[in-house]
């Protein structure tokens, strides 16, 4: 770990800048300067996802509930991020089989198809980037994916968003068009993304509260929700949410330098 922090950052360790948390914290701070956001917005994401983890016995944070007060009492790591703004560090594995629709119809589980996908990679290193507070690659990637799918965000039943940090979830949903810049806190408040919420997000607990499996955490959860294999956290009557037909998922890499958006549908 120490070698990874020391050898991969060019000369950034000279100034005490280490790792992804510090890079995303730079992005989040600039966003706080440009529109209304900050811990008061991100607490809804950290706490909301933790509620989903309580319904998922495999989640690292199962049986570890968190309140808004717990969030504010958590220690600073790289300010403006507290510990619960950061994803988990864990071992584990995930796999997803992609095959033809024809072959999939012969298998035990129900069919989930890819309606649309898009990528956009602004690439510029965070030190020179001026897109850290949006629009990030999520804007163009989602435009491509939604156009291919022939739908809008109004048609989406749930989201599985790559959540390396709480801010990543906010800027991704914002760039996808679920709310306008600075309106995240209002959109998220009242349990929007939680069990019984109107737009469930990261229904396994996500990488903040279930497990970090890179882009496989959102992908496998999206597929399994549409297959109806999620037990106590299953979208639909079990969690008093809309039975899902369409789920939008994301992945992103480096410090917001690359983004993938894909839209899944239950056949």
């Amino acid at each position: 770990m120490s070698r990874m922090l020391m050898d991969r950052g060019g000369d950034t360790p000279v100034f005490g800048h280490f790792g992804a948390a510090a890079g995303y914290a730079m992005a989040a701070r600039r966003a706080m300067h440009e529109f209304h956001t900050g811990p008061e917005t991100w607490k809804h994401i950290a706490v909301g996802q933790r509620k989903w983890a309580q319904l998922n016995p495999r989640a690292v944070m199962h049986d570890k509930p968190m309140t808004h007060e717990d969030y504010y009492n958590a220690k600073w790591l790289v300010e403006p991020f507290r510990l619960p703004d950061n994803c988990l560090v864990n071992d584990g594995g995930r796999a997803c089989i992609i095959t033809s629709a024809e072959r999939a119809r012969d298998l035990k589980h129900s069919l989930v198809t890819i309606m649309g996908m898009g990528q956009h990679n602004p690439s510029t290193d965070f030190q020179q980037a001026t897109y850290l507070s949006g629009p990030t690659g999520a804007r163009q990637a989602s435009k491509t994916a939604f156009r291919m799918a022939g739908i809008t965000v109004q048609d989406v039943d749930a989201c599985e968003i790559y959540d390396c940090f709480t801010y990543t979830v906010e800027i991704t949903l914002q760039d996808y068009g679920f709310f306008r810049p600075g309106e995240g806190e209002e959109w998220l408040s009242g349990g929007t993304i939680e069990p019984e919420g109107k737009m469930p997000v990261n229904t396994s607990g996500g990488q903040l509260s279930e497990a970090y499996h890179m882009g496989l955490t959102p992908l496998t959860e999206g597929v399994m929700q549409l297959m109806g294999r999620c037990g106590d956290r299953q979208l639909g009557p079990a969690t008093n949410t809309k039975e899902p037909e369409i789920i939008v998922c994301s992945d992103n890499g480096a410090i917001l330098q690359c983004h993938s958006c894909y839209i899944l549908r239950r056949e």
């Binding site: 360790p13 005490g16 730079m26 992005a27 600073w76 790289v78 403006p80």
Partner: protein, 135 residues
């Protein structure tokens, strides 16, 4: 006193920059073809791909583009500094520079605050450009 923090790793691209720092100058690459200013140093221009490169000296003035307050020392030598500030400073000339902000209560720091360079002579070989608020 021994300096225990990580030192710059000089390579063909960064050699001229760190040599400038030793003379208390922030040297920025200027494309010899299109004039684009770039940092960190690289062997070709990201705008026009020309390898023709000149160097200019920055005034050492700029503003805070963004910053973090680091409460955990991921390298033991930074333990004595926590909480310390790492910032991206936008130089007057345009390019951004990763650095530290010193001489300022982290709680009073704001994005877009004007700052100026202050040199930290850490070893016989290296001086680091750090920044402080313009008073």
């Amino acid at each position: 006193m021994t300096y225990n923090k990580p030192l710059p790793k000089i390579n063909a691209d960064t050699k001229e920059f760190w040599k400038g720092c030793k003379e208390h100058l922030i040297k920025i690459q200027k494309c010899g073809n299109c004039g684009y200013l770039r940092h960190p140093p690289s062997f070709l221009c990201p705008q026009c791909h020309s390898q023709k490169t000149d160097w200019i000296s920055s005034t050492g003035k700029g503003s805070v583009y963004t910053f973090t307050v680091n409460h955990v020392a991921f390298h033991p030598a930074f333990q004595e500094d926590v909480p310390y500030v790492v910032a991206v400073v936008e130089l007057e000339e345009g390019p951004h520079l990763l650095t530290n902000i010193v001489g300022c209560d982290p709680g009073k720091l704001r994005c877009d605050m004007p700052v100026e360079v202050v040199w930290d002579d850490i070893t016989d070989e290296f001086s680091l450009p750090k920044f402080r608020p313009v008073v």
